[in-house]
Structures are given as structure tokens and as C-alpha cells.
Amino acid sequence: MNFDDTPAEAEYRQRARAWIEGNTFDFRGEFVSGKNFDPIRKWQRIKHDGGWGCLHWPREYGGQEASQIENLIFSQEEARAGIGILSVANSITLGMAAATIMHCGTQEQKDAHLEKIARGEKIWCQLFSEPVAGSDLAGIKTRAERDGDDWIVNGQKVWTSYAQFADWAILVTRSDPNVPKHKGLTYFLLDMKSPGVEVRPILQASGGSDFNEVFLNDVRIPDANRVGEVGEGWGVALTTLMNERAAIASVFPTNFDDIWSLTHEVELSNGPAIQDGAVRSMLADWYVWHKGMDALSLRLQSALSQGREPGPEASAGKLLLGARRQQYLEHAFDLLDIGGAATSAYDDGALQFAYLRVIGNRLEGGTDEILRNILGERVLGLPPEPRVDKATPFNEIPVGR
């Protein structure tokens, strides 16, 4: 057990810090939610060219074969320098699409895509959720039909983050509606420039449009872009999802720094907030959670460094994030009292944005309820829900709205 750097790690950290300081750039005002992805591509390219991109990947794909710990140190330093957000915002490309290709893709697919991702040339999005199916992902309808060496795809995806910027997508389709739902899925890599792909941004509850609707009309995909066997897309999709959940918990902040400053700045009727007993008690609990989340994320990441794929355990991190972050932010606004209703009340509106954005934390990458099912069934080994549709051919399953 050692939460500190070894001398070699400390030396690595120094080098990373110096390099980041020498290469970071000012992107504020430029990287506005739903408006511009250029800074993300740019940072990825700078990292790659400087020998700091995709650190733990094999060299042949543009990585550095660094250890997962070194990768972790670099991310910590990026965060410290205030530029981490640009890597974090690229996590669908790096953490999900690339991870899936690396794990399940053919050699040709790895050669075709990984290095371009490493260079920041290509951004990816995730075409999984549909209007009819999110939690019940295996219930998607988008059809893929074989046509010679190609597939023709028709359907609609929704909530697709960054589809408006993406060059490529990972896509789950239904290739056979006549078999039970988990058995008729096929997974593809889709060029977003293909004819028939139409992206329409959706205005989010937090304002801005990070996610989109994506319509697929007679979109042609070469069979060479299929990942895994026909009808075995579910297993590939699970690989993507495991990586997603491992990523999300460490992406979003606990906002402890915000509440710490806030309690020192805000006055209550009986004096500074930091001296109020109830506030102190809340603050202590917030800190315990904050530090626990920190250490938990380090533990999960170091488990990865032992070469393991993220397992169902990683869902615990994401489950512990959303609801609690939301509740604590509610406490923070309670302290700001009447004035807190104004967007500019604190930190240029960043805290209010967090209050709105956190809504998504309990939904994206698996809702809290689904994560509890996963932990209950796949980690604790509790019996599954009775599934009325499991053995039924997909096209005979009852549907609602």
C-alpha cells in the first residue's frame, strides 16, 4: 500500500508536469459545450507528437507502452494544469471506441483506426441508445440487413454525445429480429460521413447540446467494419459498457473544493458558514465521500494496471457518484440562499452548471437502477429479475411507448 510516488514515479511526474506546462494552451471561450471540438483534437495531437499520447497503448498503434500508473500520473498532472477536461471530453473515443477495437477488433480494424485516434485525427461517438431502448439496450430496433459484401442499416439512435463532431461511430444493430433479443445483435464501426447519416442536436436540460439524435437511412457499411461475429454484438457491446462505467466515475468532480471555499466566503445569520455546526457536519461528510471517491478511483485504475479489463465492480464508482453529488450540490445552493438562484451567484455559473449537469450523471452509461442490478447480480450473485422476454423472439416482445 503506497499512495505516494516511488522515486521513479516522482521523476516521471516531474517530467510530465514540465512537458504539460510547456505545451498547454488557452482553450477557454473556445471549447464551449456543443459548439467546438477543435481544442480536443488539438490537445490529442500535441500529446501524441510530444510522445505523451495514449501512454499505455502499444507503440505500433501510436502509444508509448507506459504503465497504467504512469498513465494515471499523466492524467493527474493534466487535471492539475487545468487541461484535463480536453482529454476527459475525448473519453468516448479513447476509453470506449478504442478500448473496444483494441479488445475485439480485427487486425485490419486496429491498423485502420487506432493510430489515427492516437494522433487526434479522428473523434468517435457511441450509437447505442435508441428511442425505444436505453437501459434495455438489447431491445434496440435499428436494422442491419446483409447486401453482398455490405450491410444496409436503417433506424434511429438518440442521446448520442458529440455525434455532431464525430468522424466515426461504434454502432449496435439488430441483424436478426427472429431470434431472442440478445442473440440477434451485430456490432459495427461506422464512418459518420457515410451517405444516409443525419445528425440533429438535442437541447439539453443543462442548456447546450452535447447529445444528438442520429438518423440512419439506408446507410451502407462494409462487412469488413463488423466487430465480432454476426449475432454476437451483445458481447462486444458489454466490453464497451464496462469501459464506459470505469471511465465516468473518475471524469466528474466531487466539488469539494467549491464547497470548502464557499463555506469560508458565505455569511449566515449566526456568522460565517464554516463556523455553523450543521454546515460543519455536512462538510465533514462531503469530505469523507470526496476522499473515498478519490481513493476508489485510484484502486479501480490500478486494478486495470494489473492487466485486468474493468469488471462489473467498476459500476460501484459510478453508482456512488451521481446521487450523492446531486445531494451535496443541493446543500451548497442551500447555503447560497436567495442569492444562489442567480446563475452568476458563484464561480461564474460553474456551480449552477454542475447542478444541472449532474442530472445526467445518474443516467448516462447506465442508470443508477441498472447499476444496482449489475452489482447485485454480477458481483453479489443475486438471482436475476424474472425476464419475460429473454427466450422470446425479438419481434414477438410486447412494446410500450
Binding site: D4, Y287, E313, L320, P383, P386
Partner: protein, 377 residues
């Protein structure tokens, strides 16, 4: 960086778990709980044969000279089995108090006895209910040159019935200090007090000019440090108990049927257990952080220890009560082990001070560092 116990430490855990599963059974917990016995002497001796009481005591003082991390592993495993032993009082508190003190004859004579299990120590700090703690001690120690006499009443003293000596917090010339009192000496009256968990019997200790040795160099700062160390180690004991209680609940949820289904297939049961699992992992993370700070002497120990304690106290209560809930009416029976965890959880949350007290300690420690430090931490 390494965010886990080493392979050797995990191998040790396996051994400990195997032995305790065989020897530290719930039957033995109940034998103490349901009788006038103050501890399971045979089990205590078995631990002593393994050298466990002295695992983190240096060789000069008769210990094994291993580190705190090994002791954390042991604490977690003892917690799992609810061992009816004064281990935390004697090893996490009394031994650590002696380790913190200047090397004097009192240390060199008592520490080896704690290490070998020959002597059992307890921690006499509380003076009635409420969380004022050692800030306003009524117990006084008078004397000089290390030889003192203590007067006053300490209640309650956890494991005070099985102990041979007590580490007593008392005022001397207006400052708090720690004093070792041999409970077999004159001037000590010991009375059993009924408690929440009779597998760890409580005592009231009344001192009337009882002979006491001062622990040299131990003032308020060292008492704080002692509490941080003990809180870290005890957090592992709580974590172990909580995990065991959760496992009990999970096992029953798979066995028990209602409405033609295993109850674990109902989401209100499954999700409750899943939340507790996530909570266990969060607490484990807090505990690891504290264990590292303790073993490496890092300056963050105060925050890390308080975090681990707050997290673990809440966790054990939650796991213990929800395990009972999952068991239905069976959960409210004496026969089921559920209440053993419920009782132990309450006892351990009380020992070393409640959560209100520890939240305040945490904030004091955080304020001591300025906010920019907190950011970096």
C-alpha cells in the same frame, strides 16, 4: 504507487481467515455474550501463539516487528468474526499509547507483556455520557518524576473487565496526559456495567489515589495522534464486521423464497444490497488511504483517520441493520447472528468517540491546512 495490500499481506489474510473461520466461531462469541466470562481466554491464547498481539510491536519489545498494514489485515479479519476479545483495546490503543511514549521502565516492562498477550490493556478516557472527551477531564493525577497517583472515576471502559492494566487519561497541573494503572493494585475498584455488547464487557473503574506511571512525553498532541492511529486500525475492524454482515444478508437473499421467487430477485432487496456493496468499497478506499498514512507516517493521517472512522462507523451500522431487515422476523431473534453485528457495530462506533466528535476533529484538521493544501491533497 500501489493502492492495495501486497501479495504477502493477502497471503497472510488467507491464513488468518482460515484459522479464525475455524476457531473464532459465533458459538464462541455467544459463550462470552451469554455468560459472566469477560473474554474467550483460549482464543486469546491462540492469537498469542501466532504472535498477533505483537505483530506491529518492534522486536526489542517482544513483537514481530511487522508493519501497521499487517495489523490492518488482522483487524479486518477479527472484525469479520466478531472475535470476543479485547484486541482493539489492548493492541490498537494500549500498545500504541506505550509506543508513543518515551522509553521508560513502564514501557519496557509492559509493552512486551502486551506483545505476548500476557497482559491486556484497556483505554479509560470517558467520564460519563456526552462528547466532551479529554478536553474537560475530571480525573486527576498527582505526583512527579513519573510516579503518580490517580483519582477519579472512568465510565465506561470498554474491555475494562478483562484488562490487567488501564491507560488512563487524567489531568495533571491542568494539562491532559496518559497514565498507566495496574488494575490489580490497591486503590482501584472495578465494577461490571451492563452494556450493548456483552461479548466485550464494560467496566466502571474508580481510582482512589491509585499508583500510576506517567507515559512520558504524551500530551494533547500525542493523545490526538493515538486516537488517529486507533481509529485507523479500528476502521478495519468495522469494515470486516460490515462485510461479514452484508455477506450474511446476500446469502439469505439467495436462499429465502417469497411469492414464488428468491427474495434477492426483488429490486428493493437487491438494490439495497448493491448500495451497501458500493458503500463497502467506498469505505475500504477511505480505510486504505488511512492505512497508508499510518504506515508511512504521512502528515495527512489526521484527515485520513477521521475519514476512515466516519465512513466505517456509518457503514457497519448500515450493513448490520439492513442484514437484519433482509432476514425478516428471523432477524429479530436472539438465535440469528444479526444482532451480534448490530451490537458490535454500536460498540465500535462508541469506542474512541462518536461521529459528531470525529466530524469536528476532521474539520479542525482540514482547517489546519490551508485550503490550497486541501486542493493539492
Amino acid at each position: 504507487m500501489q493502492f492495495n495490500f501486497s501479495e504477502d499481506q493477502e497471503a497472510m489474510r488467507e491464513e488468518v481467515r482460515k484459522l479464525l473461520a475455524k476457531e473464532s466461531t459465533s458459538r464462541r462469541v455467544r459463550d462470552v455474550l451469554e455468560s459472566d466470562r469477560t473474554l474467550d481466554k483460549d482464543l486469546w491464547q491462540l492469537l498469542a501463539d501466532q504472535g498477533w498481539q505483537g505483530i506491529a510491536i518492534d522486536e526489542v519489545h517482544g513483537g514481530a516487528g511487522a508493519g501497521y498494514l499487517e495489523l490492518c489485515v488482522l483487524a479486518e479479519e477479527l472484525g469479520r468474526t466478531l472475535a470476543p476479545l479485547p484486541f482493539s483495546s489492548s493492541v490498537f490503543v494500549a500498545a500504541e499509547a506505550l509506543k508513543l511514549a518515551q522509553e521508560t521502565p513502564v514501557v519496557s516492562s509492559w509493552l512486551p507483556k502486551v506483545a505476548s498477550g500476557e497482559a491486556i490493556g484497556c483505554f479509560a478516557i470517558a467520564e460519563g455520557v456526552g462528547g466532551a472527551h479529554w478536553g474537560a477531564l475530571k480525573c486527576v493525577a498527582e505526583g512527579s518524576g513519573g510516579a503518580f497517583a490517580v483519582s477519579g472515576t472512568k465510565s465506561v471502559v470498554i474491555d475494562g473487565m478483562s484488562a490487567d492494566f488501564a491507560i488512563v487519561a487524567a489531568q495533571t497541573n491542568g494539562t491532559p496526559g496518559l497514565f498507566l494503572v495496574d488494575l490489580m493494585d490497591g486503590g482501584v475498584r472495578r465494577e461490571h456495567i451492563d452494556g450493548i455488547d456483552e461479548s466485550r464487557p464494560l467496566a466502571c473503574l474508580a481510582f482512589d489515589n491509585a499508583a500510576a506511571d506517567q507515559l512520558g512525553g504524551v500530551g494533547p498532541a500525542e493523545i490526538d495522534q493515538l486516537l488517529d492511529r486507533a481509529a485507523t486500525l479500528m476502521a478495519f475492524e468495522q469494515l470486516g464486521g460490515a462485510s461479514a454482515a452484508l455477506e450474511m444478508g446476500v446469502a439469505y437473499a439467495k436462499e429465502r423464497y417469497a411469492f414464488g421467487r428468491q427474495i434477492g430477485s426483488f429490486q428493493s432487496i437487491k438494490h439495497k444490497l448493491a448500495d451497501l456493496y458500493a458503500e463497502v468499497e467506498l469505505t475500504r478506499s477511505n480505510c486504505f488511504m488511512a492505512a497508508w498514512a499510518l504506515s508511512s507516517g504521512d502528515a495527512s493521517l489526521a484527515e485520513a483517520a477521521a475519514s476512515a472512522r466516519l465512513s466505517a462507523s456509518k457503514l457497519y451500522f448500515n450493513c448490520a441493520k439492513e442484514n437484519i431487515q433482509v432476514h425478516g422476523g428471523m432477524g429479530f431473534t436472539w438465535e440469528l447472528d444479526g444482532h451480534l453485528h448490530y451490537r458490535r457495530a454500536r460498540l465500535l462506533s462508541a469506542a474512541l468517540g462518536g461521529s459528531t466528535y470525529w466530524r469536528e476533529r476532521l474539520l479542525t484538521a482540514l482547517s489546519r491546512r490551508n485550503s490550497s493544501d486541501t486542493r493539492a491533497a
